[in-house]
Structure formats: structure tokens, C-alpha cells
């Protein structure tokens, strides 16, 4: 990474345990505050207040507000919440089962803190670097799914790349909606229909 954005790097590295703890408190508080107030109204002072540390301490570990949210997003990605689909490669199974696993992963990824995820995705002023990281992650996932699709005997679809894009995005967005604002329809029902749609599409009639 030659072009790591300086404005997202911490200005001081924690060397003592209590420092690491403070850093942790900041991130936890930020997650809560952003969830409750949104990004714009989630001020750094509010975060510090909630973390029960001074505003000065906050700025010793994060150079600016954006960096806090960036860190939260990075964590979310790194934690593999978006990457757990790797195991799909190992267990082919029915086409339907595969799609079900995809949807389940998406749901899992969103059940942790749907509100925060929404804010990170929709409200965050993502930096070049961060956008690229998210994008890179997306490309990797797409590539994985593309491979999976091209290997599966039941998949009959024009272009596997386009199909991978289409179904990943469709699953992601529908899940997102499902988790962010619980509708009248039960989750299982909606998820089932989603699986149906994607499966039928991939099977090509």
C-alpha cells in the first residue's frame, strides 16, 4: 500500500494497555453514537463524552472524525463478516443450497448492527483509499462467485461475470433493506423468495 491516506492514520500508537483500552472505548462509543445520531450529528465531542474520555484523547488516536468511521468499516470488512463466503468453494451442493448459503451469509453480516452498517455505507464520506479497499473487496467476492458459478453444472446463464455482479448486488441490497427496516413480511418468507428468484435465474429456466 504505497498511497495509504495519511489523514486516516492514527497520530500515536498505543504502547500501554490502558491506551489500547481507550482506543477501544472510542471505537465502541463511536459505533453507538453514529448508530444513534447518524454520521453528521454524531459529533466527536459526543463520542468522547460517551466514551468517558476527553476530546483531546480522542484526537490522539484518530486524526479526524472520518478516520473513526473508516476504522469501524475496515474492522467490519477484516472481521470477515463479508468474507465468510469462502467456504462456499468447498461445499458445492445443490444450486439452491449454494444460493441459500449466500443469502444466509448476507443476513448474518447485517444482523450485527444494521443501523451502523447503513450509516457506514450510505452516509460516510468515504475516502479514496477506503473506497478502493471496499471496491477491492467487492471485486474479490465477485471473482469468487464467478468461479463458483462457472464451475457449477446447473448454472446456465449468458455471461457468468454479469450474473455474479447481478446476484451479489441483488442479494446484498435486499438483505440490507430486510434488516434495516423490518417489514410486515417475515424475514424467512422474504429470504425464501429471494433465494427462489436468484436460483431460477441461474438455472436459466
Amino acid at each position: 500500500m504505497p498511497s495509504a491516506d495519511r489523514r486516516l492514520q492514527p497520530r500515536r500508537k498505543p504502547r500501554q494497555v490502558r491506551a489500547e483500552l481507550t482506543r477501544e472505548r472510542i471505537l465502541t462509543a463511536a459505533a453507538h453514537v453514529f448508530t444513534e445520531y447518524g454520521y453528521a450529528a454524531g459529533t466527536t465531542n459526543r463520542i468522547a463524552e460517551r466514551a468517558r474520555i476527553s476530546i483531546g484523547s480522542l484526537y490522539q488516536y484518530f486524526p479526524n472524525k472520518d478516520a473513526i468511521l473508516a476504522q469501524l468499516l475496515i474492522r467490519h470488512i477484516d472481521r470477515g463478516t463479508w468474507t465468510e463466503a469462502d467456504r462456499l468453494d468447498l461445499s458445492p451442493g445443490t444450486l439452491r443450497e449454494t444460493v441459500q448459503a449466500l443469502v444466509r451469509d448476507a443476513i448474518d453480516s447485517h444482523s450485527e448492527d444494521p443501523q451502523l452498517l447503513r450509516i457506514m455505507i450510505e452516509e460516510a464520506p468515504l475516502s479514496r483509499d477506503l473506497l478502493e479497499a471496499v471496491d477491492r473487496h467487492g471485486r474479490i467476492r465477485t471473482a469468487q462467485i464467478r468461479d463458483l458459478l462457472s464451475r457449477h453444472p446447473d448454472v446456465r446463464v449468458g455471461d457468468v461475470g454479469t450474473a455474479a455482479d447481478l446476484i451479489l448486488f441483488t442479494i446484498e441490497m435486499n438483505t440490507h433493506k430486510l434488516m434495516a427496516a423490518p417489514s410486515a413480511v417475515p424475514v424467512e418468507t422474504f429470504a425464501g423468495e429471494l433465494v427462489d428468484m436468484v436460483t431460477r435465474y441461474l438455472r436459466g429456466d
Copy 2:
């Protein structure tokens, strides 16, 4: 409408032509500024500057910043850009043709100013009233599609309501993505796959 939000109503009604013109300039400028800078960074002063009117004039026709974006959204809805699907009821045709029409409408609705639409949808701090208006509009559309689906002989799907929700949202979001950030895949190809997916789903195998 008994509970029209006062904070979104103009404080002065234009009575002369030049006033109406000024109002128009403000809205046009706002659309440009919001598109270019986003909602938060699209300041009222910037809007006034771009409209070549003073900031004071701006606040004679719009009580606050939110009201400007609200007006833009209302216009977008009223213009029927989201409602042109009505004609679908009149021309049943093939299931595939119907879905194609739906996708086409969605694309049309987004081609005008995808960036601005994104901002209105994602960044705008929508008021209660406005949210309700958008929601009401959504429900009407869903109801229309539900009727359409239940009348169509080729549709074989568990619950028509869930299906209507699912396909409307899927079409909307995919189109949104398609228009907001042009991908490597040509629009027609992607749209075609989207139509395929929805059609196969509705046909139930």
C-alpha cells in the same frame, strides 16, 4: 393534508413573474450544487451564489435548506417520473414484455439526474411528511404491481404481495446502481439479465 409541515412551506408566495423566475433559479441552482457537492457540503450560500441571487432572496422562498431538497424531491415524484408505470395496466402483453417495461421505466426515471436522485434518496434528512409522501407513493406502486401480477396468467408465485415488493425493489436498486456508476458491462446487457432474472422468478420455473 392537515399536518403539512410548516417548516417546509415557503414564507412568501411569488406574485410577480420575476419572483417565480427567482424561485426557479434557486431550484435549478440547488439541483446543480447538491449534485456537485452533496447535501451537507451544498451550502445555501453556494446555492444562492450559483443562482446569482442574494442569500436573502433564497430565504424568502424557502424557509430552510431542507425545504429546497424537499421541493426537488416532490417535483421528481409529481413529474410522474416514478409513476409512469400506470400504462402497464392497460397493456398486458407477454410477462417478459411487462417486466421489460418496468425496467425501462426505472432506467428512464434515473437517467435524468442519477447523482441528484442518489443524494435525495441517500443523503437527504427527509422530514416525517416527506418520508410519508415517498412511502405512500411506494405503496401505491406496489399495489399496482401486485394487481398486475395477480391478473397475469403466467405469474406463478407464492405470495403476490411479497413478489411485488421483491421485484420492485430489485429493479429499482439495480437500475440505480447501473445509472449512478457506469460499469464495464454495457447497460443493455445488464438490463437484459435483470429482466431475465425477474421474469424467470415470476414464471415460477
